[in-house]
Symmetry: C2
Subunit: 303 residues, 2 copies
């Protein structure tokens, strides 16, 4: 096994986890949760989305949340940004990094963004350019890269073409999304073999969902190939409203536990992260999918 | 990646899954479930335990179950057997294979079997010898091999010493148990590196619990090292009553799905297995931990 000494975790729970939950959380509760996450040792938190509230009503309080959180030194606070107008609001909220997004399949892109892929790219370009002018970094998500609920397999050459264009925008990192939780380790290996021939491994992150239980197996495969950046959601909160059957981001807690056991440093305190997971579980009144959270509860490590 | 073309799954749900459930199932329901499992393509099912009902009251109907199931050609029907007396009853139930068991740590062995390790080995020897006389095979479980809830780490040299003795008994397979679901991929690799120097890979099976989400990552690691036999429980049913915090056998459903996606043959029909998982979920009135079962329900693939 050829695992890295340390990995970087991008905590996306406050955005990806809360964007489509049935339970509506107050801005105050979101702020309290993000402040808890800031104290866990996480160095990156995607705190909200500046997509129009018409599309993501549960994150309509984006600006209030961005302005309300305590900024911890050393933590990058990012937000999802759909377009130049969204970036304006995000900058008003003083976010450190803009996360732009699009899908690898035309159908998912159309359902999610209401544009074709070719229509979307210039919109993202505008955001990354304006972000750079404002001295902010930009990250790009490419959704359904490992499988689309509508088009099933997305051809690798299309993914490479899109990734080429995204890196031309000078994004600091690309996050490849397994939006429906269908990726398997062989597929991850094939995808990375192709991408790592063209793009630096330091700029590629992976975003898995644990819908079918393979998130950690996929991450392990990617780690063995030199990938060191992974998205996760505290407690395994989340899913995607436009991806039927998508349920549960990879739980940051499970990733951190596995890394700790394997001697890989994450910088995150598992106890504090589990406390944050338990807190949001109680607030949302849902049993969250994180295995470590449920194990910690059943063993009485947390109540 | 160096994965096998096919793997052999040992379905332990009817025994390991039901032995400590709070919900008491009728013998008729157990028989109906095993008969469903026999039709999924599984080639091995551990159907019950002939441990004294004082210790496992929920499987007191072992003989009735063993006599009641329909035997499908090509399926091996095994049962847990603690000692010669248990084997007598198991043979009365016409089981194909006796699964003997012990723990790698003294404390867990004492709590589980009420004997020291040295006192246990001759008892197992008697079972395997008598089973051979009756022309049945014997398999051995070594529990808490990857970590003990009482003694924490179990030294590798002790494990090797026990495994040596077990293979001297002419068991057909050793199943190394991660009873508390604490094994991680690096540990699995180190353990197998040591064991595969001494014992044939065809005779080693792995028994993971998904307590902390690492079951599939661990199995993938083992597959890459040539292991082709894995225990699983339909739906992820189960745990261990003497291992605090143990919860959830690796779900056979999740293993089969991952294998199917990776092109590894298991011979099992996932749809039929999920139907069996859904059936036992409804009977036990518990939400089972199998990711694929929950995904299939949420997407309406099964109701």
């Amino acid at each position: 096994m050829n695992i890295p000494q340390n990995i970087r975790i991008k905590e996306v729970g406050p955005r990806d986890g809360l964007q489509n939950e049935q339970v509506v959380l107050s801005a105050g509760d979101k702020i309290a949760w993000i402040d808890m996450l800031s104290e866990t040792g996480l160095s990156y938190i995607e705190i909200t989305s500046f997509v129009h509230p018409k599309w993501i009503p549960s994150l309509a309080d984006a600006l209030e949340v961005a302005k309300g959180i305590k900024r911890k030194h050393g933590v990058t606070y990012a937000a999802l940004v759909p377009n130049a107008k969204g970036l304006e609001r995000a900058l008003e909220g003083d976010i450190d990094e803009a996360a732009v997004f699009m899908s690898a399949s035309e159908t998912h892109n159309m359902k999610n963004i209401n544009k074709s892929i070719d229509e979307t790219l210039p919109v993202l370009k505008e955001v990354t350019t304006e972000a750079a002018k404002a001295k902010r970094t930009a990250r790009a998500y490419l959704s359904v890269a490992f499988g689309c609920p509508y088009e099933k397999t997305v051809p690798l050459d299309r993914i490479i073409r899109i990734v080429d264009t995204l890196f031309d925008m000078e994004i600091c990192e690309l996050s490849l999304g397994d939006t429906i939780g269908a990726a398997n380790p062989v597929q991850v290996e094939l995808m990375l073999e192709a991408l790592l021939k063209r793009f630096p491994k330091e700029k590629i992150a992976l975003h898995f969902h644990d819908t079918r239980g393979m998130a950690l197996a996929n991450m392990l495969t990617a780690m063995n190939m030199g990938i060191t950046a992974f998205d996760g959601a505290c407690g395994g909160l989340g899913g995607c409203p436009y991806a039927p059957g998508s349920s549960g981001n990879a739980a940051t807690d499970d990733l951190i536990y596995m890394c700790a056991q394997m001697g890989i440093e994450t910088g995150v305190d598992l106890g504090k992260l589990l406390a944050a997971a338990r807190w949001i579980e109680e607030k949302t009144e849902m049993k969250l999918p994180s295995r470590n959270l449920q194990a910690a509860k059943s063993t009485g490590i947390i109540s």
